[in-house]
């Protein structure tokens, strides 16, 4: 373990090189497009990023993180990311933070996700459910009281009602509670909650008395283990099962939700980001289907492409997560930020 002068010299020179290289030229020569946000939107963005990089052959780099919609907006409003994946529109609080940091953004819906209410395939008493019945099951007042199927509807058996649902940090939970109970994040707490939808799939597929909900993609991959419940929006309306068609023609309500990307308006000036978003919009229809999400109908999607072309700033929601907004109406609204 003798340290000679030569060793020392080497060590010192190594350190100089190290400091000179990484403090002086900290930026990579190849531009990097930074994306973060919702894990629900992730599969679509990942697919687009994969194809985009294949086409660009190393002349552009894309990174995608999954900090969640909320965590992602925090980074987005600090200007750390170029694009934000969001499974719900931006909220008032986040709009304010963005505004203070001087971050303007373009809001683009890129696909639909259909929240799917699922039961075990051996469950033979459910043919369809109404939103009112779902509300009776999921509202906070049901906690500890509605524990059997026949308490919801006397025609159903006297069997325990075992519930599975999204964890309270997810956009799925926010949207489901908003659409069914009428208030975001308002839900009973005594159910099996998981951020990992595969856990919910396992749970419902093993329990005849189970009822659960999650994104359509997880149902589509497990159709032999699960049964999707047709939903009756209002008394007198027909029961509608979730599918590409029913979501696209707007009959699967109120559980179909649009999912978004938000683009930092400053980043659009970077040619690689602009090119990436154009690539995203051009290939969205095909790639969205591939990862089991529902594409936005062509006519409406033209409006989305137009909105990006015009650099339409701000959100059409005004900071409130609404249920059942049509995309064509949304894009006609004045953008607020």
């Amino acid at each position: 373990m003798k340290i000679s002068k030569l060793h020392l010299l080497l060590l010192v020179s190594l350190f100089t090189i190290y400091y000179s290289t990484f403090t002086v030229t900290a930026h990579a020569a190849v531009p990097v497009i930074k994306i973060d946000g919702s894990s629900t939107v992730y599969p679509i963005t990942e697919a687009v990023a994969e194809e985009f990089q294949k086409e660009k052959r190393g002349s552009a780099r894309v990174t995608v993180g999954i900090s969640g919609t909320g965590g992602g907006f925090k980074k987005f409003c600090r200007g750390e990311t170029d694009i934000q994946d969001a499974s719900r529109p931006i909220l008032t609080k986040e709009m304010e933070i963005c505004k203070q940091a001087g971050i303007q953004y373009i809001e683009l819906p890129v696909a639909y996700d259909a929240l799917t209410v699922v039961i075990n395939p051996k469950n033979d008493w459910i043919k369809s459910m109404t939103v009112a019945e779902l509300k009776k099951i999921w509202e906070p007042a049901a906690q500890g009281k509605i524990t059997k199927w026949n308490q919801v509807n006397p025609a159903w058996p006297d069997a325990p009602l075992n519930l599975f649902g999204a964890g309270s940090d997810s956009g799925t939970f926010d949207y489901f509670t908003e659409a069914i109970v009428g208030k975001a994040k308002s839900s009973r707490g005594d159910f099996t909650a998981s951020e990992d939808d595969n856990v919910l799939v396992q749970g419902v597929s093993r329990d005849v008395n189970a009822l659960g909900y999650f994104g359509y993609a997880y149902y589509a991959e497990n159709t032999e283990k699960l049964k999707a419940v047709p939903i009756v929006e209002k008394e007198g309306k027909p029961a509608v099962s979730p599918s590409f068609e029913t979501v696209m023609n707007g009959t699967y309500q109120p559980l179909a939700r649009p999912i978004f990307i938000y683009i930092n308006a400053k980043s659009v000036n970077k040619p690689e980001v602009k090119e990436f978003v154009e690539f995203y919009l051009k290939h969205a229809a095909k790639l969205v289907k591939e990862v089991q999400y529902v594409p936005i109908p062509e006519e409406d999607f033209k409006l989305v492409i137009e909105a990006f072309g015009k650099k339409k700033l701000g959100t059409g929601f005004g900071g409130v997560a609404e249920v059942g907004v049509l995309i064509k109406d949304l894009l006609k609204r004045e953008g607020i930020y």
Binding site: Y42, E50, A217
Partner: protein, 307 residues
């Protein structure tokens, strides 16, 4: 009644021997609980991941097609981060240990420092992640880079390195130090020429144990902003202009093995579960190899040293 008492003693011996056997069985059973659980886990992972383990897994980037997806960016990221972690935790940890063992006066301040170092080893890793997010990512402006992640994990394993290095240093007999002093060596000469070389085996073992803990850490790395999809490698450490080496990769974005695994387990397509299992097997093998190296190093150094 000598006969009776011999009989008595014989019975007593038999009874004690019985307890001996019972304890041996209990011991083996307890051992089995641990080993069999690990073995069962590993076998299940291996069986599930077997169809995906192969050269292509190592050379492919993540993809939406499970059969094309690989762990290239993840294993490269993990390896580079481990390099940064080792390069920063070892000098710091060994220097601290040498100071505490050889130089520091034994007073209440040293006692407090010692207690704190030991306590730090038990701090949840997410706490280090939060600290690093504020310090490395924002304050020092290293960004969400390999450097930040490496330093974060270095902080995490620093207490482990310090504690094990101290134990190794303490195991060097005092007579050796006294002999060196008697010949007129200074403290530093003694440490450099005797204490450190003799304790190197123990120090390296401790370091590798620390690194094998760091390799599986997910929470702190996610906190400082590891990514999930990244289909390019950090910049090459060699460059074609003077000085021919480049450290720009330190500032590049990254992902690591446990994050890649976690992402695959939460995908709807069942085929991704095979990928996750395959990545799990590789992560386990990486840890096993590191522990194997630790055992080998310890063996080599023990053999060389005879007092």
């Amino acid at each position: 009644m000598p006969e009776q008492s011999i009989d008595h003693i014989r019975r007593m011996i038999a009874r004690h021997k019985l307890w001996d056997h019972i304890f041996a069985i209990v011991g083996i059973l307890s051992l089995m609980v641990g080993i069999l659980t690990l073995l069962a886990l590993f076998t299940e992972l291996a069986i599930e991941g077997a169809p995906r383990i192969g050269w292509k897994l190592f050379t492919s980037f993540p993809s939406r097609h499970p059969e094309k997806a690989g762990i290239l960016s993840a294993w490269v990221g993990t390896t580079l981060i481990m390099l940064v972690t080792a390069a920063s935790a070892v000098p710091l940890g060994v220097a601290s240990a040498v100071y505490l063992e050889e130089y520091a006066r034994k007073n209440w301040l040293t006692a407090i420092i010692e207690i704190n170092v030991t306590n730090l080893a038990g701090v949840p890793s997410i706490v280090y992640g939060l600290l690093a997010l504020g310090l490395f990512v924002y304050k020092l402006d290293f960004g969400q880079s390999i450097l930040s992640a490496g330093l974060t994990l270095a902080l995490l394993i620093l207490p482990i390195v310090i504690v094990s290095a101290r134990e190794a240093i303490r195991a060097v007999p005092g007579s050796i130090r006294e002999a060196a002093y008697a010949l007129g060596a200074t403290k530093w000469q003694t440490v450099r020429d005797h204490v450190l070389p003799y304790s190197l085996g123990g120090i390296l073992t401790g370091t590798i144990m620390g690194l094998s803990r760091a390799i599986g850490e997910t929470a702190p790395v996610i906190t400082i902003g590891a990514l999930t999809f990244i289909a390019f490698l950090p910049q090459s450490p060699f460059s074609d202009v003077f000085p021919f080496v480049s450290f720009r990769w330190l500032m590049d974005p990254f992902t690591v093995m446990p994050i890649q695994m976690f992402n695959w387990t939460s995908r709807p397509e069942a085929a991704f579960q095979h990928n996750a299992a395959a990545a799990g097997v590789i992560l386990l093998v990486m840890t096993l190899i590191m522990n194997g190296i630790a055992i080998y190093i310890r063996y080599r150094f023990r053999k060389r040293i005879k007092w």
